[in-house]
């Protein structure tokens, strides 16, 4: 039950030979896996490949027909370790995660996997979370491919090429006995398109056709000295040449000719479309990939194939290397290979193009124009190109000036999110006790770093918040607070954080946001979810785990009770008791809750059963427009509107239709002593006779006293 269901879309995974598949990149990858005869798949969710995990889960019955085992791993290390099945056995397997961070977590397993190498094809689909929309540090996964001798595919972002990369990726892995990484950038994961499908294939061995047992003991399959020394040599002396031969033979890289033969562009597959568009803007390419400048598309980013490269560069005055991010690994290798071959082709790359940052349309326009300026090819009006680039970029600058600085819309907690009240409470606690160090973690709760909370002093990685405060506490007068989600807790926080803290007799406070899902990645189940993906109980709980580990001070607080949370935090800050203090902030993810409750309520309503629904509101006449309530909440449904009072100017606060009635605004107004303008209105649909009688009596008595209450009957005039 993830945030997005692919139940309908996964039916296209059943398509057979010759049928046309239409859909998103992620779904196409899944189809390609089934066409490749995988025996097992797994992964850890995270944008941009969260949906790949979701698709796999939703496709579980299709996969079990094929005998494919699916594992929703608790972190990327366990996903990487899964590939161990391909070391000794002819089993094709694929795992997926978000990179760079997931690859970092997986790194130990990957080193130990790539040293002995694999027998069955091992594919890692990494979502390269780089550029617009990225939620992690900006680093390239390329370094991992180089250092561990894994091959890195970076296919052109169109579906047939991506599907081919998956299928050929397995073959490449088997031909060279090395794991293969397939990199998909954010937009490529969600690009729509079509390709001609093939039949799904059963793996050589699978759940339906099991292996008898292990082969004879083979030291070479273990990453342990002394064989690691042999394996190191194998990587460069056998696997690398085998990989290069395969890439060349199967033409995984593509060369497109053009009439300006003395220049060339070497572009990573993933950046091909953007580069073509930049050329098209200058009239140097048409809309169908016919470029006047010859282009060498590296669908395999690592390893480069020197023969191919030299052949492409021979006779060229200059080439432009288009690769995003730093370091400029490809450009460096191109320079080295040209030097070795003693070719004098000049290499441009970082220079006309920036060293850091995403290659958006304006960056590529400026970069291509600069390259042409430097090389001045015959038959191209370079001055016109330059003028066009200049005017396009200038126009953008003028437009940006015209609209001025626009407020950024940072992501924030959803309406009714159970985590928001915890930060309201932390803010109120700090008002009284002063600020303390807050180590933040990865997850929705990290959104507290943005307005209106601006809380958090460090983010060190997923599940690392408590560990990252280990040396802060002993050096600071106040106890530090570590915030961690339940997702981060199981991802590794329970070991890196809690066990280490207890083992070292640490102090400090750990707030665990127990919302029941890995919510930031799209509501996947995790070990302490109410149920596993098949609906059965997980049998794991954060509380019992912490208790058995020896945590003495533990409180479980309903997150919406801001007052109680403030008191609990204060107690944790002030108590003389040393040792780790854990507050379990208990509140189900509102997104998940609403999805469930909405369906339940709709059913109840259609059955004619009583449904009471609360929402909050603000009296315009009483709100004075200071917006303290917003600064302590930041709820999307708590907003402002023009002041209806002709004498007042500042906009008044307003609760919009998005309110889900979580009650936080009332709690905050109460705990912070803000203002009496908030009210709760509870409407009863399908009221019982008792509800109606009570309402009638109230109306009658209050009416007799000269007041007004809400009409029950006669009917209200409908709103215009």
């Amino acid at each position: 039950m993830s945030e997005r269901s692919f139940k309908k879309e996964v039916q296209s995974l059943r398509l057979g030979e010759g049928e046309v598949f239409r859909g998103e990149g992620i779904l196409a990858v899944t189809k390609a896996l089934l066409q490749s005869g995988v025996s097992y798949v797994g992964g850890y969710q995270g944008a941009p490949v969260s949906h790949l995990v979701d698709v796999l889960v939703d496709a579980e019955d299709i996969m079990s027909d094929l005998g494919v085992h699916l594992e929703t791993c608790t972190n990327e290390a366990s996903a990487a370790a899964m590939l161990g099945a391909s070391i000794s056995y002819p089993l094709r397997g694929c795992v997926t995660w978000k990179s760079i961070v997931g690859t970092n977590v997986a790194a130990d397993g990957l080193s130990n996997l790539s040293s002995p190498g694999v027998k069955g094809g091992a594919l890692i689909v990494i979502g390269e979370d780089y550029g617009e929309g990225a939620s992690v540090i900006q680093e390239r996964s390329y370094a991992y491919a180089m250092k561990s001798s894994m091959w890195l595919l970076d296919p052109r972002p169109d579906l047939p090429t991506i599907v081919n990369a998956v299928e050929k990726g397995f073959e490449l892995s088997e031909a060279s006995h090395a794991p293969v990484m397939l990199e998909l950038r954010i937009r490529a994961c969600h690009v729509t398109g079509e390709f001609v499908a093939k039949d799904n294939k059963r793996g050589a061995f699978s759940g339906q056709n099991k292996l008898d047992g292990p082969p004879k003991f083979d030291f070479n399959r273990l990453s342990h000295p002394p064989v690691t020394f042999i394996q190191e040599r194998n990587k460069v002396e056998e696997r690398l040449p085998a990989a290069r031969a395969f890439i060349k033979e199967h033409k995984l890289n593509e060369i497109f000719d053009g009439d300006i033969a003395d220049l060339g562009i070497i572009v990573l597959g993933g950046l091909y479309n953007s580069t073509m568009r930049a050329l098209e803007r200058f009239g140097l390419a048409d809309g169908y990939g016919n470029s006047r400048i010859p282009t060498y598309v590296l669908n395999v980013a690592y390893p480069l194939v020197p023969d191919e490269l030299i052949l492409f560069c021979a006779g060229k005055r200059a080439v432009l290397v288009v690769e995003e991010g730093w370091p400029d690994y490809v450009e460096q290798q191109v320079n080295v290979e040209l030097r070795r071959a003693d070719l004098q082709t000049k290499v441009f790359g970082k220079g006309p193009l920036p060293q850091a940052g995403e290659y958006t349309s304006d960056v590529l326009i400026a970069g291509v124009a600069a390259f042409l300026r430097e090389t001045r090819p015959a038959g191209v009006d370079v001055d016109a190109v330059d003028a066009r680039a200049g005017s396009l970029l200038a126009r953008k600058r003028v437009a940006a000036q015209q609209v001025g600085d626009l407020p950024v819309r940072f992501p924030t907690f959803c309406t009714g999110c159970p985590e928001r009240p915890v930060f309201s409470a932390i803010k109120l606690m700090q008002r009284e006790l002063g600020p303390t160090h807050i180590s933040t973690d990865i997850g929705c709760h990290a959104l507290a770093i943005f307005q209106p909370f601006n809380l958090g002093n460090s983010i060190l990685g997923y599940g690392m918040s408590l560990a990252s405060a280990a040396a802060v506490g002993p050096n600071m007068a106040k106890r530090p607070i570590a915030v961690m989600g339940d997702g981060g807790f199981w991802h590794n926080g329970v070991i890196t954080g809690v066990a280490s803290n207890l083992f070292n007799k640490g102090d400090g406070i750990l707030v665990v946001m127990a919302n029941g899902y890995t919510s930031a990645t799209g509501l996947q189940y995790m070990p302490s979810s109410k149920s596993a993906r098949d609906g059965s109980a997980t049998g794991m709980s954060i509380e019992t785990t912490l208790k058995s580990m020896g945590v003495k001070w533990m409180r479980k607080v309903r997150t919406y009770s801001v007052g109680t949370m403030v008191d609990t935090l204060k107690e944790a800050m002030k108590t003389a008791q040393t040792g780790l203090k854990v507050i379990i902030a208990d509140g189900e993810c509102m997104l998940a809750r609403q999805r469930r409750v909405r369906v339940e309520e709709a059913e109840k309503l259609s059955r004619g059963e009583r449904v009471a629904k609360a929402r909050y509101g603000i009296d315009d006449a009483i709100c004075t427009g200071d917006h303290s309530c917003i600064r302590l909440s930041g709820c999307p449904s708590l907003t402002v509107k023009p002041n209806p009072d002709p004498l007042r100017r500042d906009p008044v606060a307003n609760v919009n239709q998005g309110c889900v009635g979580c009650g936080l605004c009332g709690e905050v107004a109460h705990a912070a002593v803000l203002c009496p303008s908030f009210y709760k209105a509870e409407i009863v649909r399908n009221p019982s006779p008792r509800d109606i009688a009570l309402a009638r009596w109230r109306k009658r008595i209050i009416g007799w006293l000269g007041g007004a209450t809400i009409e029950v009957e006669p009917a209200l005039e409908p709103a215009e």
Partner: protein, 507 residues
């Protein structure tokens, strides 16, 4: 050669931008047009701003033909249709260079979803909509602007369906209406509501295009109703009468007619000061506006009265969408402290109570939390009891304190008018700092006092040059509204004082 149509859609997380994109892609697909869309997944969708990008080649290609290479990101100056679910997001698309007068049609909803930075300001942090509308007009080849949120709400649909209707009605999409409705139907989910939203959006788009400018009018501020001018208004210039009438109406409701007359009396010296300083009625109007608000200071009596207002219950019933026969229960939250309760007592009782509470350190610490069900009989009676203190209000402790403070403020305004109308206007405007209840009020009063004693009074006492003084007051006031922690105010006042000392030393 046919070129693709390029569409950039900007929406906020949760508005269904992905579904809108899918509808367009599916419709194009059904016509055999090569089409590609991309989007940005992930945490940006947690209510942040996000974009979707579509390219459609409006030409049926045979299966064997070479497919076009379509971009995954929009290009600057290379977008035909920019479709945004909200006004600020249209501005963002312009700032990104995607809207150009040679080819871009901007289709945007004119309503605003305020960004956090706009909402958390202590005063008014909203972006000027006219600036956005002007930028849209100047950078677009053509525009289609109307309030799609309003249409969505009125038709019980999501905004994405209305946006699709607007795109269809723009006449720029090479896709027929029937292909789009088929896409909605094929999607299945909530098809009926979506079709309704689509049709409403389509109609509005056509109507808007006919009228061309209809939606360009920015939200008009509520007009002040005409109020007949009694004789006592003779002292006031015409331009100020509406505000003064509004003030009188407010104070009559707040207390009684006598209190409203006291308001008018208080304004007479200001009217004279306005005239003699050449403020052209501006000083009087602003002071009259603030004075009405200051005289109707917030107390539990006013709150109780507002909560009892019969119109209120009707409004709430509409807000929650109560249908006939559906009971609505309203709960109000109060948390008065010792000060709030003491403030409605007469001074001889209030003073010792406050002194005692101060000694115990209870002020600002001890509160009574109450949730009152205003629609129940007992809750109603509680509110009535509080509201009944209204008649005794003129003898209450807070009333007395407020009148003294108001007169002191008016005195400062009059004195400042003797120096310059600008300075007087700035001093009058400082009244806006005093608002709210509890912590908010305390903070505002503290800020106001700091500005009076450290900026206004020194400025008047030692004859700062009027323009310098006016600037100092204005910047201190802006600083007071910059952050609730008071850091900017402390810094600004520090700078003003340093400058003042330097100037004095120089003289």
């Amino acid at each position: 050669m046919t070129v693709p149509l390029k569409i950039l859609i900007a929406a906020l997380g949760g508005e269904g931008g992905a579904v809108l994109t899918n509808w367009i892609v599916a419709a194009a697909d059904s016509l055999g047009f090569p089409v590609q869309s991309t989007s940005i997944p992930g945490v940006a969708q947690r209510t942040g701003a996000t974009t979707y990008y579509i390219e459609i080649l409006p030409e049926k290609l045979p299966g064997t033909a070479k497919r076009p290479v379509m971009a995954l990101v929009p290009g600057i100056g290379d977008v035909d249709l920019v479709v945004t679910s909200e006004l600020l997001e249209a501005g963002r698309a312009i700032g990104g260079g995607f809207v150009t007068p040679d080819r871009t049609m901007t289709i945007a909803s004119t309503h605003r979803i305020y960004a956090m930075a706009e909402k958390i300001e202590m005063g008014d942090g909203r972006l000027d909509p006219d600036k956005l509308l002007n930028a849209i007009a100047e950078n677009s080849q053509s525009v289609l602007l109307f309030d799609m949120d309003d249409i969505a709400q009125r038709n019980g649909a999501m905004i994405n369906a209305v946006m699709l209707g607007a795109v269809a009605g723009s006449g720029r999409l090479p896709i027929s209406e029937s292909a789009l409705t088929a896409a909605i139907e094929a999607e299945g989910k909530a098809a009926e509501a979506n079709l309704k939203g689509f049709r409403a959006g389509l109609d509005a788009a056509r109507a808007t295009q006919e009228q061309a400018k209809a939606a360009m009018d920015a939200q008009a501020r509520g007009q002040i109703a005409y109020f007949p001018a009694p004789d006592e208004f003779a002292a006031f210039p015409d331009a100020t009468r509406q505000i003064i009438a509004e003030g009188m109406k407010r104070l009559t409701a707040y207390q009684n007619a006598a209190y409203a007359r006291r308001y008018v009396e208080r304004l007479k010296p200001i009217a004279a000061a306005d005239k003699s300083s050449g403020a052209d009625g501006k000083l009087l109007a602003e002071t009259a506006r603030h004075l009405a608000l200051r005289m109707s200071f917030e107390d539990v009596i006013r709150v109780a009265e507002a909560k009892l207002d019969p119109a209120r219950m009707k409004r709430i019933a509409q807000e929650v969408g109560a249908k006939p026969g559906e009971p609505v229960a309203v709960t109000d939250f109060f948390k008065p402290g010792i000060e709030e309760l003491a403030s409605i007592l007469p001074s001889f009782l209030a003073r010792p109570i406050l002194a005692w509470a101060t000694r115990r350190g209870w002020l600002g610490k001890v509160y009574w939390g109450m949730s009152v069900q205003s629609t129940s009989v007992s809750g109603y009676l509680k509110l009535r009891l509080l509201a009944s203190f209204k008649r005794l209000r003129p003898w209450s402790y807070k009333f007395g304190e407020e009148q003294v403070a108001i007169d002191a403020w008016l005195g400062l305004v009059a004195r400042a008018a003797g120096r310059s109308p600008d300075l007087a206007l700035e001093v009058a405007d400082c009244a806006r700092l005093i608002k709210g209840y509890g912590d908010t009020l305390k903070r505002g009063q503290g800020n106001y006092r700091a500005i009076v004693t450290r900026v206004i009074e020194p400025a008047l006492a030692s004859n700062w040059p009027p323009q310098h003084a006016a600037d100092a007051v204005a910047s201190a006031r802006a600083a007071a509204l910059a952050d609730p922690e008071g850091e900017s105010l402390a810094r600004t006042i520090g700078e003003i004082e340093t400058r003042g000392r330097l100037e004095m030393a120089a003289e």
